[in-house]
């Protein structure tokens, strides 16, 4: 199966930011087919997305403090190989640089041998508290992106 790329990176754009977390599949996450139910991957992705956001000060709560919410507008999940009860997996999130006022994340779920079990992505928009869609990045996030472009993170 060929490598899936959810986002294209333009020339001159900085490399994506990365963060990994580890998570063990719970008994109640396993379905009658004895594999993790496909709906739980959203929570796996979210663990890694939140960890990256917290690590860089651009998480859901950081946006909220500045008066913005960042709802998920699209999610895609590609299931390559099932996850097993009791086994630990690495979930790697990458945040892609974009000029647009949004957050483009992709995700990879790997086992301890490095074998890839799933990939996916989420796209989040930025709204103010009156639910208006932002067309430009809010100031604190633009400042963050400038550092990122400048290689100063």
């Amino acid at each position: 199966m060929k490598r899936i790329e959810y986002f294209t990176r333009c020339a001159g754009e900085p490399a994506p930011l990365e963060k990994s977390v580890r998570r063990v599949v719970r008994f109640n996450e396993v379905d009658p087919m004895n594999i993790m139910w496909h709906g739980h991957y959203a929570s796996f992705f979210e663990d890694a997305r939140i960890a990256l956001g917290d690590a860089y000060g651009i998480g859901y709560q950081d946006f909220y403090r500045h008066g913005f919410i960042i709802p998920v507008r699209r999610m895609q999940i590609d299931y390559l190989s099932p996850l097993q009860f009791g086994r630990e997996y690495e979930i790697k999130a990458r945040l892609f640089y974009t000029e647009a006022a949004r957050l483009d994340y992709d995700f990879t779920v790997l086992d301890e041998t490095g074998s890839v079990h799933a990939r996916g992505c989420t796209v989040q928009l930025i709204l103010d508290k009156e639910q208006n869609l932002l067309l430009a990045k809010p100031a604190f996030f633009e400042a963050f992106c400038q550092k990122w472009r400048g290689g100063k993170l």
Copy 2:
């Protein structure tokens, strides 16, 4: 197995209020033992508790509108016979009258033959928005209880 009574009813107290809902066990609620996972009963009970609260205007959102929250302080579940994927069950909630400032619910989960699969109860306390525990019922709920005692619901 003998009948479980979670709450005692004192002489002169009005009969409990009742409300039933129906719910089908979902694929993702079934665990690797092919029965509904024991942790999902809390949501089954909540469906019936919310339906009763809404029917009588004493639900979580009614309390909230009056400035109160009603967190669950205790829950007990007795699992008698497992629930199966795809099958529909009746969940019956009963709210017991009490002089105390709290909400005492019990629950019964039955199949279409009337066979009982689970019983349980929740006890909810009443807090104001500063998280202070109420020792007396708030006025709107006391008024409701008076009607209940008077047989005027």
Copy 3:
């Protein structure tokens, strides 16, 4: 926002099969932003997919009885407008005809005014019980598809 089409329909192929279910957003499905958490849509879609499969005898359990499993290989969700606690939504599933050995579903989540809150799709592959990917439809499903093509469902 323009209409999203997840699957293309070739000339001469029969119309998709349709089935709708209704579902109320539960208290425990709502997140701290006071809207249904984005991960729960997988369960909403599954309700409609299972209802359609059961209605036509081509559900997960029907495949299983014939010796096959039908894991989800891809899921995409487009979130257009959030879902609110206590409100009922219609979830419409459509199964698209395809010559390939797979199940292509799309989904629409609507409120009672007909306004669309979300769209999405799932693609399921067909495996035998030794986890081998089927390249052709199993006999019982091919027979079903013939009737479908012939307008005899």
Copy 4:
């Protein structure tokens, strides 16, 4: 609030076995009241129960390998103080010695200051694969209990 004891320990019985795990409250576990939803505690308890069972070779999968299942027959939860999003808690499980053919666990959920947020218990019965209730412990578990009584674990 006084200390809750779910199980009584008879003279001469060995001390309970203990095991703790740590867990962070997820975004999707938080309800509209901004605290962890009361139904998720079952999963918190299960994390600690599974960790203890695995540590001692008497977990759900160990019983299963010997031909037995150990369904939860009763669960009780006492909610003392809510759990907050993003905060890490310790969940301590204790398995109590009993002559009966069952598993008596109690649980304590604490924050990093040692403050107790919840207590609870589960009682599990032992069934064979024809769903017959065991009145005596299965041999492998009786052997384990002998070591436990003898202080040889």
